[in-house]
Symmetry: C2
Subunit: 326 residues, 2 copies
């Protein structure tokens, strides 16, 4: 491990970009100093990644833990239609954590950061008795009045989702089972779980063109996140089971896949509503990511799943909730 | 405990200020949206507060844990000479944590926030097997080019410190001993430990008048924090033991008090350097907080303590370092 905090800070500072442009003062002082472009608003979000809750040391390589920790926060910026700029990382490591683990954690985190133009500008560290935990803060920006919110969905709006749903949950299942995953679809699921891609370009596309009335990222599972969006907007929704973009995996029944899609979580795809008149302007694909229309917003505050036999059943939020079962 | 995350978020949202002024979107969406005043830079900092490291459940009341968690972050903003505006809180609670504990934690945190004009705008939560941990992010602002840094100290600059040193460490010692602390000085030490006051007004005063060339907050103990400031500035320092503002506590020898002042930590006072020609402009007191000149910056990179017998000894960083003794 690092001999002292100064050595750690020096090491970390050596890995990140020098102060330039809007970054006026990065790692190493009491706080970081940044500029927000004139006419822009700052977007701020923070996400915990905790051993035993969000990752398991025996399953998740440190590189993936770092990548996922940052992806969680950047996905929130994407859901606001913002451009991510900076990140801060508070990392509590255990006494048993090796220097190699810490290096790989930051390699994964900084790899994603570099690819999306995000600079690490600060954080905090501690050594604890318990497990590892990271809190990642993302700072982004969006032109004034352009940021997407959860609260703008209106009855009649069409509901879209990016990518495939339940892929991350499927990847986790494969990881737990220890199955190697030779099939391309299995590899895809594993990759989606370990290295999710925040949909920043898509979020920006939707906000710049004012296509979406509301947007949320899928972190807790479609059933839960759609409920959040509808609650914030004071509306309900109908979604069609047959339209869900499910992963096709050999040996998985479509019912299982649907279950994963609705309650799996950690897909970090975007769920957004589009006025009916603008729905045709949503492309089938944006920068390689497929976009699917899966339902529509309703007056009634209910969430309804229309099954393949045309029967409607209530869509019950079944995604992850930290406070449940305490 | 709260039944689910939505109930918790609703409860928390009910406690905080509504969106107004520079706050465009607070708790409850994917991220918060804020505006930074034109001509200002944003100050960003984050600080961990972990059970067993930064606080102990049996010693620290939840109200103090919340207050201290925010004070740690605001003190960094103070050290930059900034005005704190917003905070985000990531809180991981244990399965055994009661709703009352969570309420008191936020009462302490929000009490300090309200007093200093800081609005809680977001965060994250998780329930963990291990102990409680909080990560508090503070967002402040300062006029472009006015923020104080650690790196501007020059040889000949006079070194000042606010308040009394070692008071928090003394308070912790009293707390651990279980002694009631009836003497006014003991009560003062206990209070300084449990409810430290970030020196935001002083930091702003120094930066607005361009009085300080460098500034750092005393979180790890004078010996360590002075070393940080000197390293960042590429200078050394001489400080006089006889000038240290030590707490007078019955039964404590002055040698013990000096030891606490140099290595105690968590005082959250400001340590700053002032050009010799401006030293006379530093008042003896600023808004009730005493300011003491304790030494001067030197060319030589060494840190030296001049004892009461005029002997010089090396001042070895002896404050807290999370990576030491792993």
């Amino acid at each position: 491990m690092f001999r002292n905090e100064s050595e750690f800070v020096r090491w970390l500072r050596g890995l990140v970009a020098k102060d330039a442009g809007p970054l006026k003062l990065g790692i190493g002082d009491d706080a970081a100093l940044v500029e927000v472009a004139r006419g822009n608003q700052a977007i701020l979000t923070t996400d915990l990644s905790i051993e035993g809750v969000h990752f398991l040391l025996r399953l998740h390589p440190p590189r993936a833990v770092g990548h996922r920790a940052l992806a969680r926060a950047l996905s929130d910026v994407a859901a606001m239609g913002g451009t991510p700029r900076f990140a801060l990382v508070s990392l509590a490591i255990s006494r048993r954590t090796s220097r190699a683990w810490v290096k790989d954690f930051y390699a994964g985190l900084l790899g994603l950061a570099a690819r999306l133009g995000v600079t690490l500008i600060g954080g905090d560290t501690a050594v604890v008795k318990g497990g590892i935990s990271a809190d990642v803060i993302a700072v982004g920006e969006a032109p004034r009045g352009k940021a997407l919110r959860r609260s703008g969905a209106r009855p009649g709006d069409q509901i879209f989702v990016s990518g495939k749903l339940g892929l991350s949950a499927l990847g986790l299942r494969l990881l737990r089972s220890g199955r190697a995953g030779k099939a391309a679809s299995e590899k895809q699921a594993l990759f989606a779980h370990l290295y999710p891609e925040p949909r920043c370009a898509l979020g920006r596309y939707l906000s710049e063109r004012r296509l979406a009335t509301a947007c949320i990222d899928l972190s807790d599972g479609l059933s839960t996140d759609l409920a959040h969006l509808c609650e914030a907007s004071g509306v309900g929704a109908r979604v069609w089971a047959s339209r869900m973009p499910l992963p096709e995996v050999p040996g998985e029944s479509s019912i299982n896949s649907l279950q994963l899609a609705l309650s799996g979580g950690e897909d970090y795809e975007l769920l957004f509503s589009v006025p009916r008149g603008k729905a045709a302007r949503i492309p089938h694909k944006h920068r390689g990511v497929t976009l699917h229309r899966i339902g529509e917003i309703s007056h009634s505050r209910k969430l309804v799943l229309i099954q393949s036999d045309a029967q409607s059943i209530p869509l019950v939020p079944a995604g992850h909730d930290h406070f449940r079962n305490i």
